[in-house]
Subunit: 500 residues, 2 copies
């Protein structure tokens, strides 16, 4: 059996090598590739992903998994080996249920759809995107059928990003949270608003870059095993546990973009740098789910990086870096400024209090589309109605409404809720961390982040993808994914800032 | 038959994709990869090259080639299709004659040898490298046996880098050239020496970088299809015809390093950017040989970049960039300085008059080792004797002698002569180009390089690897590879500079 396990691991290692190579090609594409390189890069990426898929879905893998079943049953169920067999089997089933022809067609459809979306968005003309989105949703329904029977037609989509998560569970979580968040932002809207105009000034780009680097270095990002480069759309990528790279974008006239962008990607990267080395070149060297991944980036960006304690330590330094811009701004004013709440149209610019509402409306519409409760042609109106209901603002154009996100055009249907779930998980973990490290606020005030990192390494990072998200959260916090800690966090924070 | 050709091309395209991906991984390794990335990168590169090798040597390829033989015979023998089938068959035979086990063992042996060589060189102790080199030469002999019968045991090694080239031919070329070059540098040694001390001053790194960029832009390097980055050991690499990248190294205290380095790599890159687009993703999208490749880099570095005409155009600008360093140096003095001849110990620092002698002694020793005329233990003494005979200088240490080059430790046995052959080809082409473009010197004096580029595109670049090096040179110049034009070039140039 040892031998069969080694055979399986050899195949998985090759798949991982191909995926790592493809990730580097993707990184280069978004950082340094000259424009002429695009066509050949497309071929290379498609060849690598096809080879990885073919290797992973080979019948040999299925046979090895079958043979290894009795062996796995005798192992400690939490051991790396048992989990490797279990997770590989889960992913193998998923990958083999979807015909290669479908995958190829979907790639073509989304390539076309992406171009159409760019066009539609530029011209603010939803009708140009509509037929493509209809096709994508058709195919999303076909995809779901590969996994029939299911509890809900949306489950297989969700499961791509959140293994084991059910539509019913997400709906229940959001149903509880939504009215409370709506109520909170209404209350905030009635109070005196905070000033954040000082964030919109000219800030030297290199100094912005260096400040972000300084923060994530203190967080524990390991530069011997990573680097940061410029990219239009910031992202984190890795080619192994010991090479996890981030990118950022610096806006010379707005401080938040690079600062919180770097902290966010730094959080993702610190997670990936923390996978146990024993998991290298296996499917377990991955985040537990997108939501768990997002919990790490959001924690370092928001729960740490937008906290008052954090700025007690870092603000004097920031003032030294930008004396003319921030010399007369108190730390109190600055803290409030970076936490300003303002219902707005664009998800990616949303604050902590409103962000989840952007997600909820997308999730509801995705489910309604899958259930055929809403037609694609009705989508702009349905979108606008929800934005008004939840956020109290009205998109003047579809560009600032239903056309704003790239996800659907890229076929990422089922993806959005991971952002909001990530917020919720971050607050659940934060509550537990603060119980386990009672003086964490004081540590943060002294710029000391090593206990936090150690806690995350032990409880989250090192496990990689061994546990499904619900199981992981339950093991660590004692409860499944839940919105109560996040709501409590928002109430406390904005209670202090806005007096609500 | 069309269908079988398409099948073959599909496989070759996949192999090309894998090789292109591997090349990007190699580029990243030498430019941006954090140190932690090395281990996973090793695995990824080995997986990609193994998959490429397996795909290319699959029996399916052999069968398709066999089936396509009658078809190829009916084609125009110079057509892309006929040449594709011919070159693929040649490379297929080479690749399938060498057992996979041998390839794997050779990779291991050279990995060990490379470490041992670094050590031996650092400690100036040849005995530490000796057993590794013995093993490598043993394996080089084994490699040759895979290709028995051969005219000369060294032929299969040479053929790896110079398809179709024979040891006897190279020996004959060099035998004619060597005494003439030795005589020339002796004559130069008796004349008044030129001053190049002004090249060793502090030069701003960014300004050096920008100057090199300006020159190769005028040469015709297409930045939309390439880029330049920093690297310790400069190189050119490509991931397709439309993404050909160079690297350079800037020495803040010596002007030549970055300047001529960029011109040299620019020459390699301009070659690769000029392959016919019809050859993309086939084995024909490659240089004809290493020597032909080197002819392009040497031409742009030396025949153009170290010519007086070139500096008539560029020197005033260089003086503007570095007024305090070069303001008082005349263009005549500068031209002589960058063409200073000085017999020295280190190949990579050698000038145009002495360079080939460094190569010849290496080739002779490689052949003698293969023929068992020299034992590895006698190599340092044999090396020093030849350096004295050809160059009139004596290596005080093996570090400055037999241990100076990385090539043997990397298993690159048979490689060196391509450098000297490249010099010879560059002069042969240069003679022909100047016949075809009589006012080329005036064009160069005006910074006009487009006729030169067009000539090279038509006669050399666009063909890629369609023709073997001897055939290509013959088609273009009417004669096979020959040393007469190079010797004439050296005599004329140094006759003017040194009055010999």
């Amino acid at each position: 059996m040892k031998e069969k396990l080694e055979q399986l691991k050899t195949i998985l290692a090759e798949v991982s090598d191909l995926q790592g190579a493809a990730a580097l090609l993707g990184w280069d594409q978004q950082t340094y590739m000259p424009p002429g390189g695009a066509e050949a890069r497309g071929y290379q990426l498609s060849t690598l992903s096809r080879l990885a898929h073919t290797k992973f879905t080979a019948s040999e893998v299925g046979e090895l998994l079958e043979d290894l079943k009795p062996y796995a049953e005798d192992l400690d169920p939490d051991s790396d080996q048992a989990r490797l067999i279990q997770v590989t089997e889960r992913e193998y089933k998923k990958a083999t249920k979807v015909p290669a022809d479908f995958v190829a067609e979907f790639a073509q459809v989304t390539t076309m759809a992406h171009g159409a979306w760019e066009n539609a968005r530029e011209e603010d003309d939803f009708s140009k995107f509509q037929p493509h989105l209809e096709k994508i949703i058709d195919m999303a329904r076909q995809y779901a059928e590969f996994f029939a029977p299911y509890e809900h037609v949306y489950d297989p989509l969700l499961d791509m990003y959140e293994p084991g998560m059910k539509t019913a569970a997400v709906r229940e979580i959001f149903a509880k949270l939504r009215p409370l968040q709506v109520e909170l932002i209404q209350a905030i809207g009635e109070e005196e608003q905070v000033d954040d105009s000082f964030l919109y000034q000219a800030f030297d780009k290199q100094s912005q870059w260096d400040f972000g680097v300084d923060v994530i270095t203190k967080y524990g990002y390991d530069w011997k095993r990573g680097r940061q480069d410029d990219a239009v759309h910031p992202f984190t990528t890795s080619f192994g546990i010991d090479d996890v790279r981030i990118t950022t974008r610096v806006n010379p006239d707005f401080l938040n973009t690079a600062l919180f962008g770097t902290l966010h990607e730094g959080g993702h990267a610190i997670y990936e740098q923390g996978f146990s080395p024993a998991l290298a070149r296996t499917p377990l060297a991955s985040g537990a789910s997108l939501a768990v991944h997002e919990s790490q980036s959001r924690m370092y960006e928001n729960l740490v990086g937008r906290s008052y304690d954090f700025w007690v330590h870092f603000y004097p330094h920031l003032q030294e870096v930008f004396p003319s811009q921030l010399g007369n701004i108190s730390s109190e004013t600055f803290y409030k400024g970076v936490n300003k709440v303002e219902p707005s149209l664009i998800r990616v610019e949303a604050d902590e209090a409103t962000y989840n509402l952007h997600i909820m409306l997308r999730l509801e519409l995705e489910i309604a589309l899958m259930e055929r409760q809403v037609e694609v042609s009705d989508l702009p109106a349905a979108w606008n109605a929800r934005v008004e209901e939840y956020l109290g603002v009205t998109p003047p154009t579809d560009r600032e409404g239903v056309l704003q996100d790239v996800h659907w055009s890229a076929g990422l249907f089922g993806y959005f809720s991971t952002y909001a779930l990530g917020n919720l998980i971050s607050a659940q973990l934060w509550e537990k961390i603060n119980q386990d490290i009672p003086d964490l606020p004081e540590q943060i005030r002294s710029g000391e982040f090593s206990s936090l990192l150690e806690w995350l390494r032990t409880n989250i990072h090192s496990h990689g993808a061994k546990f499904e998200p619900q199981e992981l959260v339950k093991r660590v916090t004692g409860s499944q994914i839940d919105s109560v800690p996040y709501m409590a966090y928002l109430r406390k924070k904005y209670g202090e800032i806005y007096g609500v």
